[in-house]
Symmetry: C2
Subunit: 640 residues, 2 copies
């Protein structure tokens, strides 16, 4: 199997244009129509104008509860000279009842006195009063809706009233999805063996299809075998309007898919000048499109969204919905290779007056970034990048409302931030956007005005106290407030049962003990360096001092998965991950708030959150927290 080298990565716009032209040429967009029962047409798009089959009302109907009369019988009536009419001259009618000839008016029940069987009327009726004429609502042959119209709830009712049983609509396209890769498994126990992956891309793409109005069928996972993949394609392709092969990320795998499409049809493009998503394949089998999406989830959904979404909408007779765009400012510089359209996922939040875009890491394998992202920024192929602070445009992937109701917390990581996130969402519909950049990273973000608050635990090794001296040094020009979240236990996170018998920091000098460190600027790193210095241990005595992780949980996960033997972190995380813990120190974890940046009401909400009993109980249950200062004001820096 030869390794594929991309000879040409087609520019995105060229690929879109030629793909569409090829499909257009093959008659792919000719409307496919079907008839559906009117009671099941909600959300469907009409393929032809819909005319009423019946007038509604289809008879002269009383618009009131009362009596039907001939108006001429009442002409003489007045308050002073009431007219009485016999039973044969009127008919009791309720609202909606038929008013048969020769009756031509209805008198409201409130205006009639019944005396024996006679009706006494005190006001002359005007012909046709209180009678709904035939077709007042709809006249037979009226056009109810034109073609290319999305049927909603009111149309369902109108179509039923208009005497229709069925309505002609565009077929929902059927998308076939084939996941392929020998490493993929359908269901997996929690202790999945290394190298195996639970297949999820097909479900992500199927869900996108459903959101865009298409139906889907999914083929079971196909291993990397020419004959099996060929059979799967031959089975699926004839019944589908669009076939997607989730073809894995390795270069060999793509080549395989590409060759297979070439055997059955034609490959239009293999390789696109986009990032992520370069190894995409666009082809046709017969008159229908086939898309090969890369294996990494970020790439897979991007290629699918760029190429499948417009087809799916167009096949249904719908314009592709325009996504909302937002002007924003980047928080850090992004370089991007020339000649490639790059798509960068970002978080978005308003801090003071600025809508800030925080770029997420660019790994195409980080599917959780798709969950985290609020929008996408494009760096066009002719651009070398975007500078920090530069204005740009993000296409929103989350509602504007949610973005605007964001509270940003950058800094050190603690599990309590998750509780806070959940609490704020549940009780106040506020989205807490948190980023784990370490304590010093948090202070820098405060300094740049990129966050409302920061979680910090910075030991002043000279004074032996936490946080305040750092803030006094760095945040000289700001009004800030420091509130305690909790004191917490720091220590060595070790494997369950502590197989290496680690009891103190000195154990790290053993070269057989594989350590994992935190990044520079993390409070935990500063604590480690302080403790090492106290004990006269040098960094280069420690196997793994240079290997860094960004959160307590990531350190614990590395221990759990035997990527190392131990790391420094908080007790709660060791407990949550069912690992053992060697306590070394108690430290103070505080929130520093830029109070001028806070919407007034949110300050109270935050205080309330920290005082909340459920929040405190959560921390107690997890263990390793001391709540004696929780919610207390540690320092308040007021400039004016």
């Amino acid at each position: 199997m030869k390794r594929n080298i991309y000879i040409r990565n087609t520019p995105l716009q060229d690929a879109i244009t030629s793909f569409n032209q090829a499909l257009e040429g093959a008659g792919y967009f000719a409307p496919d129509e079907e008839w559906v029962p009117v009671r099941e047409c909600l959300g469907r798009v009409t393929s032809r104008a819909v005319l009423s089959k019946r007038s509604s009302p289809h008879y002269q109907a009383s618009a009131m509860d009362g009596i039907a009369v001939q108006a001429r019988d009442t002409y003489a009536a007045s308050e002073t000279n009431p007219v009485r009419i016999d039973e044969s001259q009127y008919l009791m009618v309720d609202t909606g009842d038929y008013v048969p000839p020769p009756f031509d008016a209805v008198v409201m029940i409130e205006d009639v006195n019944f005396i024996n069987n006679q009706a006494e009327i005190i006001k002359a009726a005007v012909p046709w009063q209180h009678i709904r004429s035939v077709g007042e609502d709809l006249v037979a042959q009226d056009m109810i809706v034109p073609s290319y119209y999305t049927l909603g709830s009111f149309e369902v009712a109108a179509l039923i009233s208009a005497g229709l049983d069925q309505v002609a609509v565009f077929k929902q396209p059927l998308v076939g999805i084939i996941p392929t890769g020998t490493e993929l498994v359908q269901n997996a126990a929690i202790d999945l063996e290394p190298g195996k992956i639970v297949e999820s891309n097909s479900y992500m793409l199927a869900s996108l299809c459903r959101m865009w109005g298409a139906k889907t069928i999914r083929h079971p996972i196909v291993e990397d075998d020419w004959d099996k993949l060929l059979a799967a394609v031959q089975d699926m392709q004839p019944q589908c309007d669009l076939l997607v092969i989730c073809s894995g990320s390795s270069a060999g795998r793509e080549d395989y898919t590409s060759a297979l499409i070439e055997t059955l049809g034609e490959v239009l493009h293999h390789g696109l000048a986009i990032k992520p998503g370069k190894p995409a394949i666009l082809g046709m089998i017969g008159a229908k499109p086939v898309i090969g999406v890369p294996g990494y989830p970020v790439s897979a959904q991007l290629v699918f969204t760029l190429f499948a979404r417009p087809l799916i909408y167009r096949k249904q007779g719908l314009a592709v919905p325009q996504s909302e765009a937002a002007d924003c400012q980047l928080t850090r510089k992004l370089a991007s290779p020339m000649g490639v359209d790059e798509f960068i996922y970002v978080n978005l939040a308003r801090v003071r007056e600025r809508l800030l875009a925080y770029p997420l890491s660019r790994g195409a394998g980080i599917s959780s970034n798709l969950v985290r992202a609020d929008g996408v920024i494009t760096i066009a192929s002719g651009q070398e990048g975007i500078n920090a602070g530069e204005k740009t445009t993000a296409i929103l992937t989350r509602s504007r409302r949610e973005v605007e109701r964001s509270l940003v917390c950058m800094g050190s990581h603690d599990l309590c931030i998750d509780f806070l996130t959940d609490y704020l969402r549940r009780q106040h519909d506020i989205r807490l956007l948190s980023a784990n950049v370490g304590s010093m990273g948090g202070i820098m973000a405060l300094l740049r005005g990129e966050t409302h608050m920061a979680g910090i635990h910075l030991l002043d090794t000279e004074r032996g106290e936490y946080n305040v001296s750092y803030l006094q040094r760095y945040l000289t020009g700001q009004n800030w407030r420091l509130i305690n979240v909790a004191k917490r236990q720091q220590g060595l996170i070790v494997k369950k049962g502590n197989p290496l018998g680690i009891t103190a920091l000195a154990a790290l000098t053993d070269p057989e003990v594989r350590f994992i460190n935190r990044q520079k600027g993390a409070g935990t790193r500063i604590l480690l360096d302080y403790l090492l210095k106290q004990q006269g241990i040098k960094p280069d005595q420690i196997n793994g001092y240079t290997r860094e992780e960004y959160t307590h949980l990531a350190v614990a996960a590395a221990v759990k998965n035997d990527a190392c033997d131990c790391g420094l972190g908080i007790m709660s995380v060791a407990r949550v991950m069912e690992l053992d813990f060697v306590p070394l120190a108690e430290e103070q974890y505080d929130l520093c708030l830029l109070i001028d940046f806070f919407p007034e009401a949110w300050l109270d909400i935050l205080s309330e959150a920290l005082a909340n009993i459920a929040f405190r109980n959560n921390l107690k249950e997890m263990g390793g927290y001391n709540l004696e200062l929780t919610g207390q004001l540690i320092a308040d820096n007021k400039l004016h």
Copy 2:
């Protein structure tokens, strides 16, 4: 059965508040949770925070196709001094493969020369390069999403990757719908007997529920019988989170529903100070709400939207979505009774710079207005009305885009307007908003700048020509252009087989011939008056001269349904309704365009539409049209 008189109509806001308080007090909003498979969770809302069960990747994975090595074996490598390592010192890996210990780096395949079984490397590898660390995407115990979060496509994939099988979400509330009324039928032939109505409200309400995220069950139609309705409520209520009784419009009927709810539970309000929708019933049975909606569809959906929609969203853990509002100007004065919140449905379109709101007729039985409407205006209970030209706010019920892409045509009615509507939507995604106000109504709308164009057929009885002299008289200050659509046959529309043997206008003087007229200002009315005058017939000689309809189709429908024997109208309509036709005159139906009001591109689109072969064939097929002038410029009034 006693007739109900409303003692007190509760103000809307009071009813909303007390209804919610009663439900709150009964614990109705306590979350109902269920576990659903992660592969089926799209669109559902989390009832608790979701934590990852597995790190992803859960092993050290190669990020490239290449070889796994120990970095220390490569430290000496450089371009001038390549290092060769043996087969035992490296492992071939594809992207995603496991990199087992002791390997700690991956070298890309492009940077390796294979010589026999040795690998030659020309650059030192940095430890952990091209290796995805455990948990790079997700770390076990990471919070993937908080509670009260709507799960989308990306979350589906992330939850699968995170090792979850099921996820806790809010139950979708189940809404039970009982249609009741002896006049209702489930399915109906086209010739439904007078007084019977095809039941459609329950399907409209069920469709609304589906759009809001609820599930529904519908009871078969229940006739007006206490025991049967009681049985239906007792059957449905225990299984539903919300019960709706579509209880008919007559006062007796409501009272019935109200008494029944009182028997099983409690009526909180019967009668609301809103219009339409006054006869609404709000109650509770046990801890669950019951809503009695009026029978008229406009009232039914309004009451349901006001009271059921917030409950349905809240039960799912969702904020009620805010509808888009638009500032607009009313085209005509609306009076409204004090003490009542009135809801007025409007069409919306931008004509030149103004976003205009055209009030639709206020009949609660006109369900087609719900289809036509683009928005709703509220006249608060303390307001007496809104003046023509006054600025107000409409809540949009159609997309802003569609509203902005509207071309307005007011004036005389012709079936060709429907063809044009369909053509513009299909080919150009333009919505043609037409209103049948008669030819003179069209000219007045042009004069007030409320329409882009008008369809007119006004005979100048002195000159014997059409339209131009009227425009010259009324549109003195405007640039306008007159384009012919078609010449068309006007005549008497009579019953099939012409049972009364009508052959000329003189027949109308027979008092046994029931005529139906068009409204004042209609071109057809002007033609009639001209023809009557020519023949010396006086209006009061005609039985039905004062009875008016607003369109050709409405006249034909009245003939068809025996509401009258004949009326004046166009031949195409008689043919479409399968009626007979007595031709009297050929007239000219033109479009008058205010060219300064037209977006430039739309002028060309309109010309193209009139020249379109399919459009012409449609007119030919219908009959009664003469296309010799179609699309030709009749007059062009340029002021500058």
